[in-house]
């Protein structure tokens, strides 16, 4: 079995208001929507004096062909989680402030399990032919499929970044850009009092 790393620990960092449960649910939904099977490697929660620390590690995978599999490694560390409250329209909203740092990688795993060329000699010859003599498309899938897993990882990263950034607007940390004729900045001012 050969594992080729395509994206090496692409970072995702965020600091500010968020909802930890919604964030974890969002990761699950994204993995599901892209057709991957979620594999949870570890989950850790530690309660310290300066806030909670949650670390999670997933390795979602998807079979592409009988020879190849896409695998993503998603690791997040959410530190300094503190509960906050906010009142909007007389209702009490709970959220947390935290610092999120994530690392996302993508791999392609090729497997020759249960196939006739699992024998060491045949595997070696096919590897030499594929790498130096003639590109066997049915054997080496990298040139055909490497873009798809990178696109999936990019989509997950983009959607998570956008999802986290919305909390900055919801909590009033950032203001929406003023558009001529827009009543939104005025509404936010009224709500803040």
């Amino acid at each position: 079995m050969e594992r080729v790393r395509l994206v090496d620990e692409s970072g995702l960092n965020y600091s500010g208001p968020m909802n930890v449960q919604d964030f974890i649910t969002k990761i699950d939904q994204l993995i599901d929507s892209l057709g991957y099977n979620k594999r949870e490697l570890s989950f850790s929660e530690k309660i310290k004096e300066d806030g909670k620390i949650i670390t999670l590690s997933y390795e979602p995978w998807k079979n592409v062909t009988t020879y190849a599999k896409y695998v993503m490694a998603i690791q997040f560390s959410i530190t300094g989680i503190k509960d906050e409250h906010m009142k909007l329209d007389g209702k009490d909203y709970k959220y947390q402030t935290a610092k999120v740092s994530g690392r996302l990688s993508s791999f392609v795993e090729t497997t020759t399990q249960w196939h006739w060329h699992t024998q060491p000699f045949y595997y070696f010859i096919l590897g030499i032919i594929d790498k130096y003599i003639w590109h066997l498309r049915w054997y080496s899938i990298l040139s055909n499929y490497d873009e798809q897993v990178n696109a999936d990882l990019g989509q997950i990263k983009y959607e998570l970044e956008s999802f986290l950034n919305t909390y900055q607007y919801k909590a009033g940390v950032k203001q929406h850009p003023t558009v001529p004729g827009s009543i939104l900045p005025q509404k936010i001012k009224e709500l803040k009092g």
Binding site: Q21, I24, S42, F43, S44, E45, K46, I47, I54
Partner: protein, 177 residues
Amino acid sequence: MVYTKVIVKDLKLEYEGLLVVSDLYKLINLWIREKSFDMRDNLDVNVTKPDGTKHIELELEPWRKWTDYHKQRFRIRIYIWDCKNVTVEKSGSKTTMQHAKLTILFDVFMDFGWLGKSAQPLPNFIQILWDKIFLKPWNDKYEDITNEDINHLYQTIKRYLNMPKSSDYTPRYELKS
């Protein structure tokens, strides 16, 4: 053919904070009994250190035989250290809980042909063909059930420890204390 397949290896759950160790152990035991597993305690270590903190190591091996060919086996390793008693005031009443560092490791195996293999080569060969060609739907079915079981146990313990849960988990089990 007699072989063991590893379904899940070293699935880790870590927690540091307040919990009730006896309730956690009861939860796991009750879950195992409700799912009709048999259980074997491989390791049970309880050490009290000079500073009063406890160190607990448990290794549980529940198993369940589906058929005379399929057997699912879990290995649950629980490590609790720096465990000390803490008095907590909850809605006016005081209760004793423990503050500890907890690590739980799950390994899940599927044993095929657990009855053993025959001494004769011909029955073994027929068993290999039977396993590869005819029993594949049942092998996949029991593997899926095993995956669901371990996922359910994992999420049950996460829910008990009040950890953020996965979106598609619907709780089917509640510990009544």
